[in-house]
């Protein structure tokens, strides 16, 4: 048992974080490109954008390690949202680092990693502009961000923009299986399915959920995973809503009742419904808007304190009335 707890010391996300570019899963073409950069040097300024948990930060780190090797510590400056990145830091710390001289092999440059760059103020980003240009012969920047539109246009214009897409389910699966094997976890197939489904292409979340399920139940199956993940299953919600729309009101009430008796809260059901409807492309947009309005109003009422079963029934009834 003590052995077991030792293993848990490090979160699996960290334990199995890829150390080299070739271990990174998904977004092959982009990773391919990064590998070439790592080989040939002369890294351009980079913006990597994409959803959380798909390996943005990891790939930048891998790239920096492969590029700089033993110089990594001297030649990189990493700042993330937990650091102060106000305009003063940009003007002092970053600029000083850019001016600093580090002996590097040919084709290698100092790298400044700005993680979660979308949380930098526009002012601070402005201050980076000329710095990026003037010191580009010795220093290259790598930004990681979730929304590239939070990066001001002048910076985007100076960078190579790499967009990371969601990971494919198979890619997540492959990695999960590796970890399952290494950790010797017992699992069932529906458990894996559930993990992948709930992760929605977010590898980090998948691994975290896997670890929590494992440490909580010791066995990964669908039921356990959903207990850990604890949000109403979007598919069930979708069925509820579709039944409603197709005037099978009783069916949808029954499904809702099942959810409710499992103990899901009204807020979770309402907010999941909202997200589900947003992406239900089979319904016309104007109708979706009406449905979202009803769900939203219910959500509001639930937040006001009336999170009763009746409230949700009322929501469904109103949805089924929408023409």
């Amino acid at each position: 048992m003590s052995n077991y707890s030792l293993k848990l010391e490090l979160p699996w996300v960290e334990k199995y974080r890829p150390q080299v570019l070739k271990d990174i899963v998904g977004n092959q073409e982009t990773i391919e490109r990064l590998k070439l950069i790592a080989e040939n040097g002369n890294m351009p300024h980079l913006i990597i954008s994409g959803l959380p948990g798909i390996g943005k930060t990891t790939s930048i780190h891998c790239l920096a390690h492969e590029l700089l090797g033993k110089h990594y510590n001297d030649a990189t400056l990493e700042l993330n949202a937990s650091d102060d990145r106000g305009i003063d830091i940009v003007r002092n710390k970053i600029k000083q680092f850019a001016q600093k001289k580090v002996q590097l092999p040919q084709g290698r440059h100092k790298i400044i990693i700005l993680d979660e760059a979308d949380s930098m103020t526009p002012g601070a980003q402005q201050a980076l502009r000329r710095t990026m240009e003037i010191y580009s012969n010795s220093t290259r920047f790598a930004f990681a961000c979730n929304q590239s539109n939070k990066i001001i246009e002048p910076l985007q214009s100076r960078c190579a923009i790499l967009r990371y897409g969601k990971l494919q389910d198979e890619e997540v699966l492959k990695r999960l299986l590796e970890i399952l094997k290494l950790e010797d976890v017992k699992f069932s197939n529906d458990g894996l399915e559930a993990l992948i489904f709930t992760a929605e292409g977010d590898m980090r979340q998948a691994i975290n959920n896997l670890q929590s399920t494992n440490s909580g139940f010791g066995f990964v199956n669908g039921e356990n995973v959903f207990k850990i993940v604890d949000s109403p299953h979007p598919l069930i919600i979708k069925r509820i809503l579709l039944n409603c729309i197709n005037q099978n009101f009783d069916d949808s009430l029954q499904l809702l009742n099942e959810l409710w008796t499992k103990g899901y809260s009204a807020i979770d059901i309402a907010s999941t419904s909202f997200k589900v409807v947003k992406n239900m492309n089979e319904i016309t947009e104007s109708k979706r808007l009406e449905i979202m309005k009803e769900i939203g109003i219910t959500h509001m009422r639930v937040l006001e304190g009336v999170g009763s079963y009746l409230q949700l029934n009322g929501m469904l009834a109103r949805i089924s009335e929408i023409k």
Binding site: R130, N137, E153, S157, A160, L162, E285, G296, H299
Partner: protein
């Protein structure tokens, strides 16, 4: 719009009218047609004949071709009979389909023109004349081109033609009855105005419209048929415009743009099942195309990209150089007029597709294609030459570098200075940064302007302080979007004129005091470096470049004001650079700098440079894809270079096959400004099925600026013509939704802080009202008036509180009561006395003010409160200035009681701090620079 369908349906009834159809044409036709016929490739005919073996009737028609004129003449003279016409029609159709149609076109046009004359009194004869003329011109040009490629096509495409043909022929036979009618219809459709293309085009479109069941088949089969003739496609187009024209022409003056727009956005979307044919590479080379109106199946962007992909030049406005106009439904009236004016060929979507499919590789043998090809060749050669030049330069550089390194090594230094770095270690943007003024892409005039300004600087302002009333600007403000070479241009020009550069940018702290220290003290200095470097020329000039002026923020307190004051008195040239000149931050520079706007260079201007770079780097870059890249990056050349450099790591070619995905990946993703967001939210097109802006994207628009978008939408939601439903009802629902949105907002921003409701707020305040009233936006987008009103409210409330404080010893009310009960009477009392008694009333007024412990400025405030139907302001104007100034003088002369209250600072400010030392920085920031000038 008038629909072809309409006349089709009516054709039988209106047949009688058509008598005149062919008559007048005869003579002119004879001339033209015969000449045209001559031009027909004999071989082509032979082939056609062979093709038409399958169909005897066709064959006969073809053979009869030369006789067409006579037939038509006879027809016209006698009562038109459907039979011969049908024959003629068939012939025509066949011919047109097989050959360039040009002849047929001409003929038809003539007929059409005639018809119009006869039938429609409202068409002026000049009109038809004009048409005739242009037909001729047009045809001659077109014939040459098209005949050429037709010939080619025939050989290549014969097989296809044949197989595809038979259904078509059958179809045609079946339609013979229609054909005759159609002919009759021709006149009705005022297509006449729309040059030649019309007549030929009619046949296919008629089929389409008339028999919807046949339609798909007919279209499908007709595509291969028409393949050989780019013109035929053109002709098809003409039909649709015909329909439009009748309506547009009479309503020339009274054309209701709003109606038009509304209709335009309600046009049904196509079935989406149209297959875009694969054309030969660069088959549209040499064509200048314009797209207008709404194409039923292909979106405007897609169709333009399609045309570009095949090498056509796509322009937005119609000029005499335009070779083909692709007309969609509801094309703009001005465009239609222009088409007529320039006698251009117009085709519709199907025609466009046929054109693509039909054109031979490299645009055929036409003159235009030839020219375009040679131009492209030239461009490539130019790129080659430039690449060579660059190579030479690079070699020289490399040598210099080696020498430098050797020298360094000799001196025992092993370190390599960064300026001796290898090219391969530099970013492409650095490597290929322009090194001379000529290399800057675009903005030639701006660059010249800047250069002239800098050149004349020493003569105009050298070594002297600004005089009073001097209007010449001592500083220049360059503004424009990022990545277009502003900084580069400024540096290059300064260097080329021998200036030393002192640059400050956003990475430097530029607060007022620091600026004062660093820049202020050197403004009247000369460059020591320059003095020593170039003693012979005594080029001790230096200039200051302030980059990213709009990036002055947070820590740069007062910097803008200080800079503006430098701009007035500087004794060295001062170049300011910013992106957004319109931002309020930049206002201080409004009247003290010479503005030089830099625009985004066009694709054409960048092309050769990009080609050069690609060539140097061994990347195969298809010139036709440059446009796509340019569009994706919104004309940002730096971004494109970055793009190529990154993409080229894995892919060595960029051509039509992968350019789209690349462009998509590299689409700049910038948060939009509210002024761009609102039109998107209100445009009906974005709410159609399969719109390019699905629901979640609309919600993202809200999140781009969630504080401004809802009020902006509310300001503008009345300015649309909704596509669906009753306008009033839609607006009512939208208003309802907006108010519900406010309830949600209250939950979010009140003490509840329910941020999880943000998506709901997006729906209720923005997307839903948008979807309800979406349609055509009329007028321009206004800034949300709410903000102005809100701050006004705040101001008045502040004033009111102040007034109430002062008068508190005399009144015993709260602020609201004071406003409601006292204020109207107070104002009226003073205003009326002043109005009726003039200067005599001044003592009374002062008495009143004193009574309430108000002072003179309070008097002005009082007058500002609009009361009832507001007549205060006009009444105030009636008071002579003399009286007003007398009042001020008199008031200032006496002493007045003041109540103890000091509004705002009532927490006991001691008399010591009465004159606090003003915060220098603050003052300057708020200072309007012009004040400083005045002294």
């Amino acid at each position: 719009m008038v629909d072809i369908r309409d006349f089709f349906g009516n054709s039988s009834g209106k047949g009688a009218k058509k008598k005149t159809l062919v008559a007048p044409v005869a003579k002119s036709l004879e001339k033209k047609v015969t000449s045209k016929l001559d031009s027909i490739n004999k071989r082509a005919i032979a082939e056609v004949i062979s093709l038409s073996d399958e169909d005897d009737e066709d064959f006969t028609n073809l053979t009869k071709k030369p006789k067409v004129e006579t037939t038509s003449t006879s027809l016209s003279e006698t009562e038109p009979k459907s039979e011969p016409r049908a024959v003629e029609r068939n012939k025509r159709g066949d011919k047109s389909e097989f050959f360039g149609n040009s002849k047929t076109n001409k003929r038809k046009n003539k007929q059409v023109v005639v018809d119009v004359d006869d039938e429609d009194g409202d068409f002026s004869p000049e009109n038809s004349d004009g048409d005739d003329d242009f037909n001729d011109d047009q045809f001659i040009g077109d014939d040459d081109d098209y005949a050429d490629f037709k010939g080619e096509e025939k050989f290549g495409g014969r097989k296809r033609l044949r197989s595809a043909r038979s259904p078509q022929l059958n179809d045609r036979n079946a339609n013979k009855g229609f054909v005759s009618k159609e002919l009759e219809k021709l006149p009705k459709s005022r297509t006449s105005t729309l040059e030649d293309g019309a007549s030929v085009g009619k046949q296919p479109s008629r089929k389409k419209v008339a028999k919807s069941s046949i339609k798909s088949e007919a279209v499908a089969s007709s595509i291969p048929d028409y393949k050989s003739s780019g013109i035929s496609a053109t002709d098809i187009l003409a039909k649709i415009p015909d329909a439009d024209l009748p309506e547009d022409i009479p309503t020339d003056q009274g054309f209701n743009f709003r109606d038009f727009k509304a209709r335009q956005s309600t046009l049904p979307t196509g079935s989406n099942d149209i297959k875009i044919p694969e054309g030969a590479p660069n088959c549209l080379t040499g064509l200048t195309m314009v797209f207008t109106g709404v194409l039923p199946n292909i979106s405007r962007d897609d169709s333009e990209n399609l045309a570009k992909r095949y090498g056509a030049k796509v322009t937005k406005s119609i000029s005499s150089k335009t070779s083909v106009v692709v007309l969609g439904e509801e094309a703009g009236p001005s465009k239609v007029r222009k088409i007529k004016q320039f006698k251009l060929k117009a085709i519709d979507e199907a025609g466009f597709l046929q054109l693509i499919q039909g054109m031979p590789e490299e645009g055929g043998d036409g003159d235009a294609a030839e020219r375009a090809r040679s131009k492209r060749l030239e461009e490539e050669q130019q790129a080659l030459r430039e690449a060579e030049k660059l190579q030479e330069e690079a070699d020289i550089e490399a040598k210099k570098r080696e020498e430098a390194i050797k020298r360094l090594q000799k001196n025992g230094k092993s370190a390599m200075p960064s300026n001796l770095k290898l090219d391969s270690e530099k970013l492409w943007t650095v490597r290929y940064a322009p090194t001379s003024l000529e290399q800057i892409c675009g903005n030639k005039s701006s660059v010249t302007k800047l250069k002239d300004w800098l050149e004349q600087w020493p003569r105009k302002f050298g070594n002297r302080k600004p005089e009073k009333g001097e209007t010449e600007m001592r500083a220049v403000l360059i503004h424009g979007p990022p990545g277009i070479g502003k900084t580069t241009a400024a540096h290059l020009i300064a260097k080329s004129l021998g200036y030393d550069i002192l640059e400050k940018n956003a990475s430097d702290v530029r607060s007022k005091s620091l600026l004062h220290e660093n820049i202020g003290n050197v403004l009247n200095n000369t460059s020591v470096v320059g003095f020593f470097n170039n003693a012979s020329q005594n080029s001790n000039k230096f200039c200051i470049i302030m980059d990213e002026v709009d990036g002055m923020s947070g820590g740069d307190r007062g910097g803008v004001g200080e800079l503006a004051s430098f701009a007035r008195k500087t004794q060295a040239p001062l170049i300011l650079i910013c992106n957004d000149k319109s931002s309020p931050k930049m206002r201080p520079f409004d009247r003290c700098t010479l503005e030089i706007p830099f625009r985004r260079p066009s694709a054409r201007e960048m092309k050769s440079r990009l080609m050069t770079i690609a060539l140097r780097e061994g990347v195969k870059l298809d010139p036709n894809t440059i446009d796509q890249l340019v569009a994706a990056t919104s004309n940002d050349i730096r971004q494109i270079i970055n793009l190529i450099s990154t993409v080229s790591m894995t892919q060595k070619t960029i051509d039509s096959s992968n350019s789209k995905s690349i462009a998509q990946d590299w689409q700049k993703n910038i948060a939009l400004k509210p002024f761009d967001i609102i039109p998107r939210l209100l445009s009906g097109q974005n709410y159609l099925e399969n719109s390019s802006l699905p629901l979640y994207k609309k919600m993202e628009l809200y999140f781009d600026d969630h504080a401004f978008v809802p009020p902006m939408l509310q300001e503008n939601y009345l300015n649309t013509r909704p596509n669906r439903g009753n306008h009033l009802k839609q607006v009512a629902q939208a208003a309802d939704s907006i108010s519900l949105g406010d309830l949600v907002d209250a939950k979010i921003h009140s003490s509840d802080q329910q941020w999880s409701l943000m998506p709901l707020h997006a729906i209720m305040s923005t997307v839903r009202p948008g979807s309800l009233v979406a349609g055509s936006v009329s007028g321009r987008i206004n800034f949300a008036g709410w903000f102005g009103q809100n701050s006004k409210t705040g101001k008045y409330y502040r004033l009111l509180t102040e007034l109430q404080y002062r008068s508190r010893l005399r009144t015993s009310t709260n602020a609201i009561e004071f406003r409601l009960e006292y204020l109207p009477i107070l104002v009226k009392r003073m205003l009326i006395t002043l109005l009726s008694q003039g200067a005599d009333a001044i003592p009374t007024i002062i008495d009143i003010l004193d009574h309430y412990y108000l002072n003179k400025s309070d008097f002005d405030y009082l007058m500002e409160f609009p009361i009832g139907v507001d007549n205060t302001a006009p009444a105030l104007k009636k008071i002579p200035t003399k009286v007003k100034s007398a009042l001020t003088r008199k008031y200032n002369a006496g002493s007045h009681p003041i109540s103890v209250y000091k509004p705002g600072t009532s927490t006991g400010v001691s008399s010591k701090s009465k004159e606090p030392k003003p915060d220098f920085d603050e003052v300057v920031e708020d200072d309007e620079p012009e004040d400083e000038v005045d002294e």
